[in-house]
Amino acid sequence: MPKIKLENLSKSYGDFEVLHSIDLEMQDAEFTVLVGPSGCGKSTTLRMIAGLESVSAGEIYIDDKPVSKLEPKERDLAMVFQDYALYPHMNVAKNMSFALRLEKRPKKEINTKVNEVAEILGLTEFLHRKPAELSGGQRQRVAMGRALTRDSSTFLFDEPLSNLDAKLRTQMRAELAMMRQRVHKNMIYVTHDQIEAMTLADRIVVMHGGKIQQEGTPEQLFKHPANKFVASFLGTPPMNLLQASVQGTSDITSLIGSGFSLRCDDNTKQRLGRASSKEVLLGIRPCDLVFDPSAPEASSIDINVVVSEYVGAQSVLIGDCSGQKVMVELKSDTPIGLGEKLRFAVDLDDLHFFDVDTDQAIV
């Protein structure tokens, strides 16, 4: 499988630059997910790799060969589109074999290949149906089958699940993950859904405002977000971000915000020493707040719980910490009352700090 490399890749429409000089390297047989909010440039990046958008500056290399001037068909890629992009006038078999028929492969080979892929995707009984006679999930599978029948080295997915309803999306996500284990190819997947990104990716690339914010494994990104954007984008419910200031004498340093005053240990003190000012942004994941009425004040936060969202085994509490909104995730059977001020213990090692000037993480 080829190595795909983007070097200083930029895209502008007129004077408006939507993609600012991106560098990215995707390894052999890696599942890379480009994730970010709408308009962050992720789809544009994918379409440039596919050859559907021209490259304004920079270069795309596939196995060290520059391809940005090549037609899509010369890049050896297959792509699955958000709206499936099936050919409405062809039946499923014809849709899946279109590329092979254009290549004038022998009929027998085409049939074998189509049947094989249809078998994998459970489409065998629908081979003679037109796309209009299929349900959303089946169309999605045909789109995937069309990509699979071609022995392309690289698969591109442009938000392939976003047109499906929630239940089907979960199911297709699992099927994708299973297909991924069978098919060892490069896959580049674009989505705005961070759960898809977390569950499918070998490597996540978080994009925002036409720039790459951070790349790494899902775990790296979740545990060590590089900046405020990544921290608040990945994870549901999102990370709580609270204003705090570092105060203290030579031996005791505290992190003080409205509603809390946390005593820092040596390690934390060192980390905070690298901040550009005394003011920092304190990040804490909702799952890291532990309900503990007896916790000492120096290692806890008091939250006035306003709303409790029951989602089954877990509940999400939305509370107020002296004017700042805080979310907490805890077991639904925890006995708490709405409108009460509750104490949550905090482990200093779970805290993230962000520089207020640069939004970058303080490590």
């Binding site: 068909k73 792509m79 589109f81 499936y84 992009a85 279109f98 254009l102 349900s135």
Partner: protein, 303 residues
């Protein structure tokens, strides 16, 4: 009368005025024409004074070589203009289906011929085709070529060219609209699947445009069968019968030969031909609707 039956009558009461007008405006002239076609009828007579001749008018026409010639000319004219217009119109649409500066301006220019009154079109082309002072022969002469006898020996071809000039834009506009409403992503998928520009046209664009193209084609065909003014002004059907299409022959039979019964019978022949075309078009539409409905039903069943 019970309440429910009154309720059921209401819609018909409201529809009645429209029905009456329809009957008067549409069915009365039609009936008049059909009735007239069975009679030996001179314009100086009232229809009631004419004598009933049964199917004689139809029979005479059927055996009249001039009428057959006229039908042949009409068919030749209609089929060739529609074929050529379809090819050029769709071809132009495929070429111009892209983002170009001033495209809307260009589109307006393209449809100008369609907006000119047919009589004016006929006159303009008659002058352009003029053997000595016409622009075509003057140009041919200036580059040292033999002049062409446009409206003489090549009358039918000349008339066909003029019609193509006037009506290709109609097909161009509809084909372009059809092209621009094609699903973009399917075309992108085809590019990724390795289709060349030509293969995209043959395998994706044309099949997807087909429903619009078929309706466009039938509309043009129906229109081409009835064309009158342009040819009347350009050639008056001549020389000989070479450009005497049916509409022209009908009008001459009625006015010059004063045989209203025969003209009516001729109109009915033309009407039958057009009816066959229209029924084809409706049947096609019905078939498409049926297929769409079946597809929806199947999709609903499999949920």
């Amino acid at each position: 009368m019970s309440n429910s039956s009154i309720n059921r009558l209401y819609p018909y009461v409201f529809m009645a005025p429209a029905l009456v007008i329809m009957a008067l405006a549409l069915l009365y002239p039609l009936g008049y024409m059909v009735y007239g076609s069975f009679r030996d009828w001179d314009p100086s007579q009232a229809l009631g004074e004419s004598t009933f001749v049964g199917l004689k008018n139809y029979y005479t026409l059927w055996n009249d070589p001039n009428f057959r010639e006229s039908v042949a000319v009409t068919l030749k004219f209609a089929l060739s203009v529609v074929t050529i217009e379809m090819v050029i119109g769709v071809g132009l649409a495929l070429l111009l289906d892209r983002k170009l500066r001033g495209m809307s301006m260009l589109r307006t220019l393209f449809i100008l011929p369609m907006m000119i009154a047919p009589v004016v079109v006929g006159l303009v082309w008659r002058y352009m085709y003029h053997p000595t002072i016409g622009i075509f022969n003057k140009t041919l002469k200036s580059i040292g070529l033999e002049p062409i006898d446009w409206l003489g020996q090549n009358a039918l071809t000349s008339v066909i060219i003029a019609d193509i000039w006037q009506w290709t834009p109609f097909i161009f506009i509809l084909a372009l609209a059809a092209l621009q409403s094609l699903p973009r992503s399917a075309l992108e998928a085809a590019r990724i699947d390795g289709a060349t520009g030509w293969q995209q046209i043959v395998h994706i664009k044309l099949p997807l445009m087909m429903p619009v193209l078929i309706v466009t084609c039938l509309l043009r065909l129906i229109d081409a069968f009835k064309v009158l003014e342009v040819i009347l002004v350009m050639t008056e059907g001549g020389p000989g019968l070479s450009t005497e299409i049916l509409a022209l022959r009908i009008s001459r039979t009625a006015t010059e030969f004063r045989e209203l019964g025969v003209a009516a019978a001729m109109s009915n022949y033309l009407l039958i031909m057009l009816l066959v075309l229209t029924v084809c078009m409706l049947a096609y539409n019905r078939w498409m609707e049926y297929r769409a409905a079946r597809a929806m039903r199947v999709a609903a069943e499999i949920g």
